[in-house]
């Protein structure tokens, strides 16, 4: 194979990479359509085409489902693990596009660019989950990260957004650099770039305790932990989540999580499985720190996005458990969890985006009395919070069940106990949000305000004066530094998304069988495990 690759270009299986190509092609088309002057093209056609691109990518991934091979001389894998990742990323992308309809960010960054960057990031994520080679892994990661740095800063008038983009850029670059250094060390120790060749070299040459190799593994752990926001490498998460525009935060929270966790699975449970004695305890320690730090950190948060940021740190800790145990059950558990996490998080962000448009801030107090004003939103957010907490009859319970089972089965029962202690803490903040939702609305909020001026820097400062705005085109006015006025923004996509995701949380919680059967297929991707 290697000589062949040296002499002529490798065979390219176009069908195999079709789901990836759909995203890239979509980004080009969207970028061009965004240049048209017609309002219809920019405001309607661009999001529609973006959704089509995501949907096409999902469809092509499902079409390729039964395939089980590697593409382009082993650079990319075409197996259920990669494809399920593509599906998860596609779902996250569609949700993010729906959330962006009528939002400020795409208008400020121009619709074409905004959506094209989202598609490129998704393509990077899709590459990242399929990567079977250190080079493609890094390429995918950078392709995922760089558009996200930009997207975080798209609300140009808002200092927080710019700050978030810059912070993400600096911390993300440190993460990428660490990862790259780790890759270099692994390459130095094994002389190989392919995952399977690395695994082979580790087992045949007895590199399980080679200092160079272990140094590389340690740096890879740190680099990926930055990306997946696993404590103690999570410090950027709350600030970036809070500062970035909410649709971007939603995309970051879901698509990046899917990509990073699947990359974790593939890298550690395939390539580096021979050194599991070294990274097993380290990852277990990281997972426990993430669960505790994330859940305790979320306790004092009054901003919903910050709260979800800390909660995502904790959730990353739960998902890592499946990686740590290094069994097929563990892989299935992590994949199942990350998919359900997408659904639950999307429901939450849909409601937060809607509340943010209504009240101008994302504080927990923006949700007070939502149960009266918007029962559908309130129910969806309730289900999302209960699901993230892991209450039975939601899909979160089943997901947690799987993780705990894989931990008990893999001899990591103590980690399962840390997990439940963490989720016990998490109930405090999730339930506080739920209680706020169904509490009596504060006086004066009975009429849903359509227009408000709010100081974004101080999320708790809700303007109490409401001005009736004529329904119609959304408009943005800059009223002083850092103050946003969002008027008459559409709520329909948020409602639809919230209802669909909320229903999925319950339906999958009561009938988890079909999704679980699908997830069982990912075992094919990790044949070396028990």
């Amino acid at each position: 194979m290697i000589e062949l690759a040296a002499t002529k270009a490798p065979h390219i299986d176009w069908a195999g990479i079709s789901s990836l190509l759909a995203l890239f092609a979509g980004s080009v088309v969207v970028l061009l359509v965004g240049l048209l002057r017609a309002r219809f093209a920019r405001h309607t056609l661009v999001p529609a085409l973006t959704i089509v691109a995501f949907a096409a990518s999902i469809g092509l991934a499902i079409w390729q489902w039964d395939e089980d091979k590697s593409l382009m001389s082993g650079a990319l894998a075409l197996d259920p693990l990669a494809l399920i990742g593509v599906v998860g990323i596609g779902v996250a992308g569609i949700a993010a596009v729906l959330l962006s309809i009528g939002a400020t960010a795409p208008r400020e960054a121009a619709h074409g660019e905004y959506h094209a960057m989202m598609l490129v990031a998704a393509a990077g994520a899709a590459m990242f989950v399929g990567a079977q080679n250190l080079i493609t892994t890094f390429l995918g990661l950078e392709l995922l990260s760089i558009p996200l740095y930009v997207l975080s800063a798209t609300e140009l008038h808002r200092r927080r957004s710019l700050e978030s983009g810059l912070k993400y850029l600096i911390v993300g670059s440190v993460g990428s650099a660490t990862l790259l250094y780790g890759f270099a060390l692994i390459f130095g120790a094994t002389g190989e770039l392919d995952y399977s060749a690395i695994a082979n070299a580790v087992s045949t040459q007895g590199l399980g305790d080679d200092p160079l190799m272990l140094g590389g593994v340690a740096m890879v752990v740190v680099g990926l932990a930055f990306k997946a926001s696993v404590a103690p490498f999570h410090q950027w998460t709350p600030d970036v989540y809070e500062g970035a525009p909410t649709p971007v935060t939603a995309f970051m929270a879901t698509a990046t999580k899917v990509a990073a966790l699947i990359a974790f699975l593939r890298l550690f449970d395939v390539a580096l499985i021979g050194t599991s004695n070294a990274w097993g305890p380290a990852l277990a320690a990281l997972a426990s720190i993430a669960m505790i730090v994330g859940n305790v950190g979320a306790l004092g948060q009054s901003s919903m996005k910050r709260l979800l940021a800390f909660s995502s740190v904790a959730q990353a800790g739960y998902m890592l458990v499946g990686v740590v145990v290094g069994t097929q059950l563990g892989v299935q558990a992590t994949v199942f969890y990350v998919l359900t996490y997408v659904v639950m998080t999307v429901a939450a962000f849909a409601v937060i985006e809607a509340a943010e448009r209504e009240t101008g801030h994302d504080g927990v107090s923006a949700l007070a009395g939502l149960g009266r004003r918007k029962p559908l939103h309130a129910v969806a957010l309730t289900l999302s919070m209960l699901g993230l907490a892991g209450v039975p009859a939601t899909v979160g319970f089943v997901a947690k069940l799987r993780i705990v089972q894989s931990a008990a089965d893999g001899g990591y029962t103590w980690l399962a106990i840390v997990l439940v202690v963490g989720s016990m803490i998490s109930f405090v903040y999730y339930l506080r949000v739920v209680a706020q939702l169904w509490s009596d609305a504060p006086a004066g909020a009975e009429v849903a305000p359509r227009t408000q001026a709010v100081e974004v820097e101080r999320p708790e400062a809700v303007a109490t004066t409401t001005v009736a705005a004529e329904a119609g085109t959304p408009k943005v006015a800059v009223a002083g530094a850092g103050t946003v006025v969002v008027a008459g923004a559409t709520q329909l996509p948020m409602t639809v998304l919230a209802v669909v995701a909320g229903a999925a949380i319950v339906v999958l919680g009561v009938v988890p069988g079909p999704l679980m059967t699908v997830v069982e297929d990912v075992a094919r991707a990790v044949p070396g495990l028990f």
Binding site: G390, V421, S439
Partner: protein
């Protein structure tokens, strides 16, 4: 064919139905659902065959095949009366709500929906024969109470209810881990994981792990009751919850914890139970003493009842952990009795506090006996039940429990625990006297309870009287089942413990092997097994849970002349149900 799923989901379905009607009539939909569930559960109780199969009305389908979790429901001797208690309690609560402001609230739909979900969850926890299903329902049943309290509670309700949830979840989530670990550890290599309770009991959990697993389960159940050092949520939670909801919460939900001990902790983890039972016993006795003394000193009427519940549950735990069939049957009987008495007691407190203009302070009450005679008469019956007056079924229950504790643990423990009986008389009478006799408080309106209130209060009174006349029915249904759940653990405590049990009741030897989970398999089929294998020597009592048949084997043969055993032997040959029912009654008469 009666289907358990109908009973299970009926309340939740009506709760959802309540969303579709106008707010004002939601309560009637909820009440209809609760009454239908009550009727259905009465049918199940009447249909229950005390001497018949261990599992009746079995439902068994796959739920999550990848995890080996199945949707398995059955009526057993352990749960049949608790199911009835549950439906009675929720129907009572729903009826109570329908004439209070909760029922006429503009968001009454929420109350109806959440109570419906709660009822389905409690019924699910009671009926589940799959460990994970049990855990799921056990965790779920708390959430509706959070919603109701957070929306409609009193005072500083959100922190109080979050505290309550987090406290109870500490135990519940540890139990989740323990449940999964039990299933995984019990699975022999090469076989698929099963969480069926009978299957796990038959496979056996490795003895080395049973200690911490039992501790996790015990933590879940003890917090739920709650027991002494882990009762921190109790006072705040009870104060925040609306009274009609509190009645069912206190009367029904804590019993699921008792049921959990009998259904899960004891049979699945006999070794762990035997090793750690003294910890639980001492906590139970401490709970009795501590809670009784608090109930004596607090002036808040709700908290008197709250702490009296803690003391009562301490008693019940004592009965369960005596690891004797009589103690455990007494515990089940007492669970039903206490539930019924608590329904009445909370309603009485509500009526009293209405007289004082909303205050629940004992010092503000008084004078009900002269101004509200009908109420006072009903209240005194409830009081008698709470203090376990001889003549009530509560007395029978406490007697059985104390007897079990005397024989099964240490006489000293039973003596200390019986102090609690005396204290119960003091605090229950204090509540009654403060409410009905004493100097009339400054703000008391001298009026009788309203008609619906009195009619509703009459329901627990009638039930208390009925139970007083027929305590035997409950015990009959439970006898075989409790013996099945305590015997394996009793065996691990020591041979002498089992011998003592079998000496007092030689019948029980036939129950020791775990029966397969199916309604088809009559108990007789399982009972043949020990008789067929007398060759296994008595020394093997370490290796598998079915060993004590050996010890059991000798006793009936030596006591074969007792006459009662003769009636069993035909029943082991063929599944003739009345013949098995017969000896159970003679045993009851022996008490």
């Amino acid at each position: 064919m009666l289907h358990l799923s109908i009973l299970l989901w009926l309340p939740a379905a009506f709760g959802l139905l309540g969303l579709l009607v106008p707010s004002r009539s939601a309560r009637w939909v909820g009440l209809l659902g609760a009454v239908l569930a009550l009727a259905l559960s009465i049918v199940f109780v009447l249909d229950f065959d005390a001497g018949g199969a261990q599992y009746q009305h079995v439902t068994d389908t796959t739920w999550i095949s990848a995890l080996g979790v199945r949707y398995q429901l059955a009526v057993t001797g352990l749960n049949v009366w608790l199911v009835l208690l549950t439906t009675v309690g929720f129907a009572f609560s729903m009826a109570w709500i329908s004439f209070t402001e909760l029922g006429t609230h503009e968001r009454a739909k929420h109350v109806v929906l959440h109570l419906g979900i709660a009822q389905s969850a409690v019924l699910g926890a009671l009926l589940a024969q799959d460990l994970i299903l049990f855990v799921a329902f056990f965790d779920l049943m708390l959430i509706p109470f959070f919603f109701i309290t957070a929306q409609f509670g009193n005072g500083d309700r959100v922190p109080a209810t979050i505290k309550m949830i987090v406290y109870t979840l500490v135990g519940s989530l540890l139990m989740l881990v323990a449940a999964i670990a039990v299933g995984v550890l019990a699975t022999p290599s090469g076989q698929s994981v099963s969480y069926n309770l009978a299957e796990i009991a038959a496979r056996g959990v490795p003895k080395g792990s049973q200690g911490w697993l039992f501790a996790c389960f015990a933590a879940a159940f003890l917090v739920k009751m709650p027991a002494f050092p882990i009762h921190g949520w109790l006072a705040d939670g009870y104060k925040a919850m609306p009274l009609p909801i509190l009645a069912v919460f206190s009367g029904v939900l804590s019993k699921v914890a008792i049921y959990g001990f009998l259904q899960i902790a004891l049979p699945l983890l006999p070794q762990g139970t035997a090793d750690l039972r003294w910890v639980v016993l001492i906590l139970a006795v401490l709970s009795i003493l501590y809670a009784s003394s608090l109930a004596l000193t607090t002036f808040n009427a709700r908290l008197v009842l709250a702490y009296s519940s803690v003391a009562q549950l301490g008693f019940i735990t004592l009965g369960v952990m005596s690891l004797r069939p009589d103690g455990a049957s007494g515990a089940l009987l007492q669970s039903v009795n206490h539930g019924v008495a608590v329904f009445g007691a909370f309603l009485a407190v509500a009526i009293l506090s209405k007289r004082t203009g909303g205050s629940e302070d004992l010092r503000d009450m008084g004078g009900a006996a002269t101004k509200a005679p009908i109420f006072a008469v009903l209240f005194v019956v409830v009081t008698y039940a709470v203090l376990a007056m001889p003549g009530t079924a509560n007395f029978v229950g406490e007697f059985l429990i104390l007897r079990g504790a005397w024989e099964g643990t240490a006489p000293g423990l039973a003596i200390v625990a019986s102090l609690g009986v005396a204290l119960a008389a003091v605090y229950a009478l204090r509540l009654f006297i403060r409410g009905s006799h004493n100097r009339v408080g400054p703000t008391v309106e001298p009026r009788e309870g309203t008609r619906p209130e009195l009619a509703l209060l009459a329901v627990p009174v009638i039930l208390i009287v009925a139970l007083a006349f027929h305590p035997q029915q409950t015990v009959d249904a439970a006898d075989d089942a409790t013996a099945r759940s305590v015997l394996p653990a009793a065996a691990r405590v020591g041979e002498s413990h089992v011998e003592k049990i079998l000496r007092s009741d030689p019948e029980l030897a036939r129950l020791t092997p775990p029966a397969a989970f199916s309604s088809k398999a009559a108990p007789a089929a399982a009972a043949v097994t020990p008789a067929a294998e007398p060759a296994t020597s008595g020394s093997a009592s370490q290796s598998d849970p079915a060993t004590d048949p050996n010890t059991g084997q000798q006793v009936p043969s030596s006591g074969g002349g007792a006459g009662t055993t003769v009636q069993v032997d035909p029943s082991t040959g063929q599944p003739v149900d009345p013949s098995t029912g017969q000896p159970v009654q003679t045993e009851g008469a022996g008490r």
